[in-house]
């Protein structure tokens, strides 16, 4: 009987015996699939070699779909902005923030911008990314001093789509990450205002699907990656990573506390 209990403990409580051969990684759909794949492919290859695991790139069009997949254990690692992380942590205590990715100045914070085409004077129609995007309703409403509900707004999905739709003249203005807005500066996209610093995008691990050793191994691999290695990664993650923790998001939690973000556009 004692032996049976010991075997039970060994086989069912020691997670390391159930170490996964394959991890599923998914990024937020901030840009098109091709661009995201280009961005994350070198990091995925590096982690595969470092962890001796196969990592599958999973793409989803919707922020909410990604969070649902995470909650239902279909994703092991996810690359999230601050607002989606807060939403995810509200839904599941299994979301463990590992690292924030540094920006070009080496900081682990970023900003969202309210953008428009050069010489545009009216801001009646606003293009937003997704309800759960930090630079979406939350940031634009903040930058418009809580007057977004008075405007016509629509969710387009990705940051680059918002930039392109504004440039094409289909919307008067939009809200996107400042780093993405800068890519379209040469086409006349102007940054009208910026949010205060927000925690940068983070890599979140799923503690329901990964054991503590695997989580720590991923975290260590990212923090201590060689500079020459990191340089080959896509631009948004090519400046290295810094350890993060849940309390870094407390200020943003306060910002979202009494805010009800509409799940659909109003035109």
């Amino acid at each position: 009987m004692r032996l049976a209990i010991q075997l039970f403990l060994i086989f069912f409580l020691n997670n390391s015996l159930f170490a996964k051969d394959t991890f599923i990684f998914s990024p937020l759909p901030t840009e098109d699939k091709k661009t995201l794949y280009n961005t994350f492919y070198p990091m995925i290859s590096y982690l595969e070699k470092k962890l001796n695991k196969k990592i599958i790139f999973e793409y989803s069009d919707s922020y909410d779909e990604i969070l649902k997949k995470f909650e239902t254990n279909k994703i092991d690692l996810v690359y999230l902005g601050p607002l989606p992380y807060i939403e995810l942590s509200n839904r599941c205590s299994c979301a463990i923030p590992l690292v924030n990715f540094k920006n070009s100045e080496g900081y682990t914070f970023y900003t969202c911008s309210f953008v428009s085409f050069l010489q545009n004077k009216k801001f009646d129609t606003i293009a937003l990314t997704q309800p759960l995007s930090t630079c979406g309703y939350l940031a634009v409403n903040y930058l418009l001093k809580n007057r977004l509900k008075e405007k016509k707004y629509a969710y387009l999905g990705r940051h680059d789509l918002v930039a392109l739709e504004v440039l094409k003249g289909n919307f008067d203005a939009g809200g996107i990450q400042t780093s993405i807005a800068k890519k379209y500066h040469h086409l006349g996209l102007e940054i009208l205002s910026k949010t205060p610093d927000l925690p940068t995008f983070a890599l979140i691990a799923n503690s329901k699907t990964l054991d503590i050793d695997e989580i720590n191994a991923v975290k260590r691999a990212l923090i201590y990656a060689n500079k020459s290695e990191i340089k080959t990664w896509g631009k948004p993650i090519s400046y290295g990573a810094k350890s993060t923790k849940d309390s870094f998001y407390n200020n943003l939690r306060k910002m979202t506390k009494n805010l009800s973000i509409p799940q659909k556009g109003n035109f």
Binding site: K33, Y41, P42, L118, A163, L167, K168, L187, G188
Partner: protein, 419 residues
């Protein structure tokens, strides 16, 4: 006498065997020549038809691109915005005009995509990228090394249509010079996806499958590092790669079918093909799959500017009109070999029987020659067939040759004379 007969028999058998062997070899050689001739003609016809289809697809998109450019893209107003976007002194004005130019052409680009156009790309006179409609966020990079077609058109001011690998992806490039009131505004490129080209080829040959492989060394020297994930080694040769073999991107061709993969594995061990690929020559072959179906595989080299081999167009065609000689060649060779074996068998059997008869005859001669009594053998016409030495002696003849063939009446006559 019997030995010489045996020797002549042997000679006849050897002669028949040699003649039948030479006949079999000549028939096999003739069949082989006929097969090679028919096969080469078949390959030539197929390669020619693929070349025609390939060229007509290139021409289709060349004329289509030219039409789009003249009729829809470069009207005077758009050219004016482009001119201002490049030449305005004020940076804000340049950005504004570039934005307006982008705004004006974006709906057209969306329409072009439905026609199979992948890239609408404007380049400056110094070969820098000015505006990629397929990737508007990426610009100002120097294309001098990677995109010789752009350099060619900027230098010669002549349009060009050519297949070319690139920094982002490969494509069939149609590059045209642009001018506004005599001022050089650089070039514009309208590129067609591999998928569109395959679709165009399929519209001509519905039942064939097509694929592209690219020169690995050449493509690796051009690609953005971040794009290298799109290329995987070809099963046919390590010197070639497939673009987006898993169809990650929407505008990539479908992944290779299981039959294509099985064929590619077979082709890897084709040394003639490997030589042809190495020297950028066209090639065609026939493969019989495990399901007994024949496939004709043709390789057409795609030669880019500066005569560099950029890759190959591969056609996989299930054969329906395979020359009869190719199908029956192996059975015919087997039948010929069987006939030769049968002749050899019959001759060997006849020789064995003949040897046995000779042996029996020799045995009989040895016995009768040693008899103490005279013996002769006559045939039905009473002619002497055989006579032993004792009989010769009795009759007073030294050589039996004198008696063989004589009538028995001769004995009686000789006897009466002796008496």
């Amino acid at each position: 006498m019997s030995r010489s007969k045996s020797a002549s028999f042997l000679n006849i058998y050897s002669l028949i065997l040699i003649i039948s062997l030479i006949g079999t070899i000549l028939a096999g050689f003739g069949l082989s020549r006929l097969k090679t001739e028919k096969k080469n003609n078949y390959f030539k016809e197929n390669l020619t038809s693929i070349k025609v289809a390939y060229q007509s697809s290139i021409n289709k998109y060349k004329f289509f691109s030219s039409h789009l450019l003249e009729e829809e893209i470069l009207d005077n107003e758009n050219l004016k915005y482009l001119y201002k976007a490049i030449h305005s002194k004020d940076e804000k004005k340049r950005r504004y005009n570039k934005g307006i130019f982008f705004q004006k052409l974006s709906p057209l680009y969306e329409k072009f995509k439905s026609y199979g156009i992948r890239q609408l790309h404007f380049h400056l006179p110094d070969n820098r990228s000015f505006l990629r409609f397929h990737k508007p966020s990426q610009y100002n990079d120097d294309l001098t090394t990677a995109r010789k077609s752009v350099v060619f058109v900027n230098e010669t001011r002549e349009p060009i249509s050519v297949f070319e690998t690139g920094k982002v992806a490969s494509g069939f490039r149609n590059v045209f010079p642009i001018e506004y009131n005599g001022i050089n505004l650089g070039t514009v490129e309208i590129s067609v996806t591999l998928k569109s080209m395959i679709e165009s080829l399929n519209s001509i040959y519905m039942h064939q499958k097509f694929a592209f492989i690219f020169n690995k060394d050449l493509i690796n020297s051009k690609l953005f590092e971040s794009q290298k994930y799109l290329y995987t080694n070809s099963l046919i040769s390590n010197k070639f790669v497939h673009e987006d073999s898993h169809s990650v991107l929407a505008d990539s061709p479908k992944p290779l079918s299981n039959i294509q993969l099985e064929i590619n594995k077979e082709l890897r061990s084709d040394t003639k093909l490997q030589k042809a690929l190495y020297s950028a020559k066209e090639y065609s072959t026939i493969i019989k799959l495990r399901n007994k179906e024949y496939y004709n595989i043709s390789f057409l080299p795609m030669i880019g500017l500066q005569n560099k081999m950029e890759g190959y167009l591969i056609s996989y065609a299930k054969t329906t009109n395979l020359p009869f000689i190719i199908v029956i060649f192996k059975p015919m060779i087997i039948i010929l070999s069987l006939i030769f074996l049968a002749i050899t068998f019959v001759i060997l059997k006849m020789k064995r029987q003949s040897d046995e008869l000779i042996e029996q005859k020799n045995w009989f001669t040895t016995i009768t020659d040693s008899l103490g009594e005279g013996l002769y053998v006559v045939n039905k016409d009473a002619l002497i067939e055989y006579v032993n030495p004792k009989a010769c002696e009795i009759l007073g003849y030294k050589k039996r040759n004198y008696l063989v063939g004589l009538h028995t009446m001769f004995f009686i006559f000789t006897k009466s004379l002796q008496q």
